[in-house]
């Protein structure tokens, strides 16, 4: 009887732990709201985010019809803000997911390959750890044109070393455990052991780490887009809005750049909180 009841109770306690962690819950709520807004932007936005109006340029926050004011082209800041997270969220999520897959494969390889392969691989990863990723962004922008592709490539390149390190460290611990030896003695092949025995034990760490990576990279790609390397105008984008608002920030219209900056900060913090909360739940 107890055996039948135990699993749901365990699951319920995990959910309870998550809910009790106020930061994690807050993070989740913020993200659900932001993703909802991004999806529903066409219905929520009061104005066309790209339609400028020379009659109403640089209206202050709180103006009638333009709650957050307008930018130097007379575009509605609120509408641009509602649309502006779309690109950033997709780019950061897709590229971190790719980095997680690549980094996991490399980390597992490093932990289970022979000493020489492992040594070379981890030495390269160590070196890439501190690599100035801006060089990758600039190189990619020179090869393909500036755009979302540059952002994705840069984030993947920057994140893979970190993921690899984490997976490598954990997989090395797992390698020494009895269940791996047991599977091996039962005749399982190395790839089978890696994928069906070791990998499931690493997934939670990887997902937790990936969550906070998404947040950091939303911040990072925003600055890349502000420099003109990422999402291109006239698309409404938080990063672009930073650059568009830069010209008028010092001349008395701080909102144009500051609202997207706050949005970026909030989303990044939410991903961090969610990651911390997941760690408490999955790896207590």
């Amino acid at each position: 009887m107890t055996a039948v009841i135990a699993p749901p109770r365990l699951r319920r306690s995990a959910v309870a732990r998550f809910v009790r962690n106020r930061e994690a819950l807050l993070g989740l709520v913020v993200l659900v709201v932001v993703i909802g807004i991004s999806v529903l932007a066409p219905w929520l936005a009061p104005h066309d985010p790209n339609a400028g109006d020379p009659e109403s340029v640089l209206l202050p926050t709180g103006s009638a019809g333009h709650l957050l004011g307008t930018d130097d082209q007379g575009r509605d800041v609120l509408s641009r803000l509602l649309y502006g997270g779309r690109g950033a969220l997709v780019v950061a999520t897709v590229s971190v997911a790719a980095a997680l897959v690549i980094g996991t494969l490399l980390g597992l390889t490093g932990a289970f390959a022979g000493r020489r392969t492992s040594g070379v691989l981890m030495r390269v990863i160590d070196l890439l750890f501190a690599f100035p990723v801006i060089l990758v962004a600039l190189s990619l922008a020179a090869i393909v044109q500036p755009g979302p592709g540059v952002l994705i490539g840069t984030v993947v390149f920057g994140a893979v070393p970190y993921v690899t390190r984490i997976v490598y460290a954990e997989a090395k611990i797992e390698r020494g455990k009895d269940y791996v030896e047991a599977a091996r003695s039962l005749g399982a092949s190395e790839p089978a052991i890696l994928l069906t025995e070791v990998l499931p034990n690493l997934v939670s760490s990887v997902v937790i780490y990936g969550t906070s990576l998404v947040g950091i990279n939303i911040v990072f790609t925003a600055s890349l887009s502000a420099l003109g390397l990422g999402i291109q105008p006239p698309n409404p984008d938080w990063g672009r809005m930073l650059a568009e608002g830069a010209k008028v920030l010092v001349t008395g219209s701080p909102g144009v750049a500051t609202f997207p900056a706050v949005a970026i900060l909030l989303v990044a913090l939410a991903f961090n909180w969610l990651g911390d909360g997941l760690r408490d739940v999955l790896n207590p």
């Binding site: 070196l127 750890f129 501190a130 690599f131 100035p132 990723v133 801006i134 060089l135 600039l138 190189s139 922008a141 020179a142 090869i143 500036p146 947040g215 950091i216 911040v219 925003a222 600055s223 502000a226 420099l227 003109g228 390397l229 990063g239 930073l242 650059a243 608002g245 830069a246 920030l249 010092v250 701080p254 750049a257 500051t258 997207p260 900056a261 970026i264 900060l265 990044a268 913090l269 961090n272």
Partner: protein
Amino acid sequence: MTRQILWRLVNLVPLLFVISLLVFFISQAGPADPIKDVLSQKMSAEQIEQIRQAYGLDQTAWSQYLHWLRDMFTNGGGISLSVRSPVSGIVYPAFLNTLILGAATTVVTVVLGVLIGFAAGIRHGRPADRAAMLFVQIGSNLPIYWFGLIIIWLTAVRWNWLPAGGMHDLRGDGGFGDLLLHLIAPAFAASLVSMLIVARFVRAAVIESAQSDYIRTYRSQGFGRAAILGKHIGRNILPPIVNTTGLTVGSVITGVVFVETIFSWPGLGSVLLNAIAGSDYPVIQSGILLVAVVFVVVNLITDVLLDLLNPRLRHA
């Protein structure tokens, strides 16, 4: 010890080779014809072929690479495609300005990072520590671009303490004091990410070190707090400081490139962004190669410093 350092130097050769190959690859992988901007509609096929020969584009990729590498060493990377003047005249002065800002950023990173980390670490768990950690969390999630703007707005517009941008005052004497004044704000802005990384590591190192057995022993023997902090904890966290500072080179360089445009700093970041907009491959390649070499050299210096700080290696 000397052998260790020599071995590290030898290790650089294949690394630099790979980096140079990758940088060379930029122009190969780019749009089909790197000289399309030089060509015009009116040129005959023969003229175009002549130009292709002049740029060495009729040769194999390998000999083009060797040619390019020789160019890098002898005349700094050939001729700029957009300005039609030697790349070295464009890239080197800008590179020097970036080095100046990079050095200042590193100083700010280490000084503020260590101060914040140390102050938070010795007050582990107390309000000052929690305030510092909140600052770290918010700071590391702020877009550096906006942070730079706010720094300008505060220091130059609101308080009128510092110049709003550039490297020298146009009416000034261009002296060192003037340069320093122009350095403060951009160096502080560019250090945002790296400073907080250092602060986090130093805090962790201080906490760990303060909890170790031998520190507890010193304390029980009646050694003063100041003596323990300065002499023992200070010495223990030196290697992590060097190590983390080395690890933040990438963040420092990235921060500097972000900040240069905002503060109109006449550095390599601005030059590279312009070159990308104009598909000026010689400038792009030369600039990226220079920064990559700096990265490798700083990495080497960090490794050697860590060897020197490691007592087990010092006497080997």
